[in-house]
């Protein structure tokens, strides 16, 4: 049974945006699955060349980052502004860490002469991860704006829609990666 007055964290607008974004990724994933189904051997062979350590590391980094954001929201609920800001900063550092690891992975791939034209698998691998990469950048911009506002005393336990909005978006970025990583890097 649905409870009445369920609290929706963050602004309704961001949820509409999150659903639209998830739809974009969902379609991308479905098309990936269809293409993989048509060329199973090619996908399997190319997938083996991916750096799973880097991917795993990034998964841990991003989940940790999301955890920090959640802690920041919890801290703000108790009016612990400084602590909340510190967690946000920790989350941002992790997010930047993700970008760095990903860039090293790309560098490795590009140094092998692999590009969008190499084959269908690499086209998907590069497109999906690059599209997600841009979302991490976008998420970091949002988190930074939220951090600045939090630092300047813009939020408290009574007024924290903004910080929840940023956190919701960041969790979406995290969620997409949690699907993307096994789908592209692991699943045979």
């Amino acid at each position: 049974m649905l409870k009445k007055n369920i609290h929706l964290p963050g602004d309704l607008a961001i949820w509409i945006f999150i659903f639209a974004e998830l739809l974009v990724f969902a379609i991308f994933f479905i098309v990936y699955a269809v293409a993989k189904n048509q060329h199973p051997e090619l996908f399997l062979l190319s997938q083996k060349s991916l750096d799973k350590t880097s991917g795993t590391l990034n998964t841990i980094t991003l989940i940790t980052s999301s955890y920090f954001v959640a802690l920041s929201v919890l801290a703000m609920q108790e009016n612990k502004v400084k602590q909340s800001v510190r967690w946000l900063l920790a989350a941002i550092v992790c997010g930047i860490g993700f970008l760095v690891i990903k860039s090293i992975e790309y560098q490795h791939i590009f140094s092998q002469g692999i590009g969008l034209d190499s084959n269908l698998f690499y086209m998907f691998y590069l497109s999906l991860t690059a599209f997600h990469f841009m979302h991490v950048v976008m998420g970091l911009i949002i988190l930074s704006a939220v951090t600045v506002k939090a630092y300047n005393g813009g939020y408290n336990s009574q007024s924290m829609v903004g910080i929840e909005t940023g956190a919701s978006y960041w969790h979406m970025v995290d969620l997409v990666w949690i699907i993307l990583f096994p789908l592209v890097y692991i699943l045979p």
């Binding site: 607008a13 945006f17 639209a20 974004e21 739809l23 974009v24 379609i27 098309v31 034209d117 086209m123």
Partner: protein
């Protein structure tokens, strides 16, 4: 009218409507030439009529956008326009240059026009929609720069609202992407590649920002809903427009010699291009439903809602019909494209300009908020006549396009082009009929400016 200088918009609106009439007349000529090939030949050959039809559309929409901006920006910025004189000067330059260009198309052969205008110094002519002589293109750039300067300075000296900033972003994009019309490489792939940076990134990119901003402005005015709510929607719509629209350019890159990945990118991202249009429908109707005041200008509200719905159908649904690469493989360049083009341009851009004119014109002409009951009745009749006939034009062209795809491309024994054309002739006749009704709608629309202009203003009872 809160600011005196907003009145300059009137010139732009009147010119826009006049050129709109020209566009429709040439549309009817072409429509007839589809079935009577030598109609008006050699005076107005099909290719010239087509050029005039499409160029007039673009020019009058630009007049509309500029007029809308001159009205909108002072009111949003809460200050007079930076320079009404500049706005007026640019108006005449643009109108005369536009008229001379159209006359050039009609009076001399295109090659001669290229010669007279010294196209060989900087060749930019000869490409669909960008047929304008180089000198006209330079004129467009000058007008656009002056216009942006004027609007930008007004925003700078006044209040900066989300609506005017989004509008300014769209207008700047419009000017920037037009610069690619000067890039004319000999490599045909590159030529087509960057040609779309003008054509696609205009109509499926920056113009949508202009559309969003104008729609937001009118909705704020007619519904009285909080600006913050409308701005939030505007943000989401713009973000989705850019996410889907920019890479969505790829749906033009399937068969022109670009790398394979464009088939995937183009298909995936452009398939999502209906999302911002769908959001626009939800948002327009929600705002009107939640309205906090009854605005006496019912016609403007009708146009605003109509814009959202028709843009979604024309740009969103009809675009989606043939946007996926495997489908487009068969439908590319058939009448389906024409069907989509007609409804998308009408639904998104013609209607948003008419929405703004509907809202602003009564006020510019001295009314407090709205035209008389009788005048609005005529205007709303014209809305339905034009909109419904455009729906039929689209449906007939869609039928023609589906049949064409089937007969000429999809079957085991494909027919040749001309045999196919003769088999779908009936739909061209029907389309011409719907086009004639559209013209009647346009005449009713123009009449609405004169009918009941002495009656008392409609008030909310």
């Amino acid at each position: 009218m809160p600011y005196k200088s907003q009145a300059v918009a009137k010139y732009y609106f009147v010119a826009a409507i006049a050129l709109f009439v020209g566009q429709i007349l040439f549309g009817l000529v072409m429509g007839l030439q589809y079935v009577m090939g030598d109609f008006l030949f050699p005076e107005i050959p099909f290719n010239v009529a087509r050029m005039v039809h499409t160029n007039l559309l673009i020019v009058w929409l630009l007049f509309g956008f500029m007029g809308a901006s001159y009205y909108l920006v002072p009111e949003e910025a809460e200050t007079e326009l930076y320079s009404p004189m500049l706005a007026l000067g640019l108006f005449w330059i643009f109108l005369i240059a536009g008229a001379l260009t159209i006359l050039g198309y009609l009076l001399v052969p295109y090659a001669t026009l290229a010669e007279i205008t010294m196209n060989d110094l900087l060749p930019t002519m000869g490409r669909e929609f960008l047929e304008q002589p180089t000198i006209t293109k330079i004129g467009i750039v000058i007008v656009a720069l002056g216009f942006l300067f004027n609007i930008g300075m007004t925003v700078l000296k006044g209040k900066k609202t989300v609506v005017s900033l989004v509008l300014l972003m769209g207008l700047t994009g419009l000017a920037v992407f037009f610069l690619f019309s000067f890039y004319n490489p000999t490599n045909l792939v590159l030529d087509k590649y960057f040609w779309w940076w003008v054509v696609h990134l205009w109509v499926e990119g920056v113009w949508e920002l202009i559309l969003g901003a104008i729609l937001a402005f009118v909705l704020i005015k007619v519904t009285g809903v909080d600006r913050e709510i409308i701005e939030k929607w505007l943000y989401i719509i713009i973000a989705m427009t850019l996410i889907t629209g920019i890479i969505g350019t790829g749906h033009h890159y399937y068969w022109i010699g670009t790398p394979d990945y464009w088939s995937w990118w183009g298909s995936i991202f452009s398939a999502l291009e209906p999302i911002p249009f769908f959001l626009m429908v939800v948002y327009a109707f929600t705002m009107v439903y939640k309205r906090r005041r009854e605005h006496p200008n019912k016609a403007a509200t009708l146009w605003a809602l109509g814009t959202a719905v028709m843009a979604f159908l024309g740009a969103g649904v009809w675009g989606f019909l043939h946007t996926l690469a495997p489908v487009n493989y068969y439908t590319h360049g058939t009448q389906l494209t024409a069907a989509h083009g007609h409804m998308a341009f009408y639904g998104a851009y013609v209607m948003i300009v008419l929405t703004m004119i509907s809202y602003a014109m009564p006020i510019i002409r001295g009314r407090a908020a709205a035209n008389s009951e009788r005048s609005q009745l005529w205007e709303m009749w014209s809305f339905w006549l034009m909109t419904v006939s455009m729906v039929f034009i689209t449906l007939f062209l869609t039928a023609a396009g589906v049949l064409q795809t089937w007969l000429q491309r999809y079957t085991d024994a494909p027919l040749d082009f001309m045999t196919t054309q003769s088999k779908i002739e009936i739909f061209y006749w029907l389309r011409e009929g719907a086009g004639a009704v559209f013209l009647i709608g346009l005449i009713v629309y123009i009449a609405s400016f004169f009918v009941g202009s002495k009656d008392e203003e409609r008030t909310v009872s």
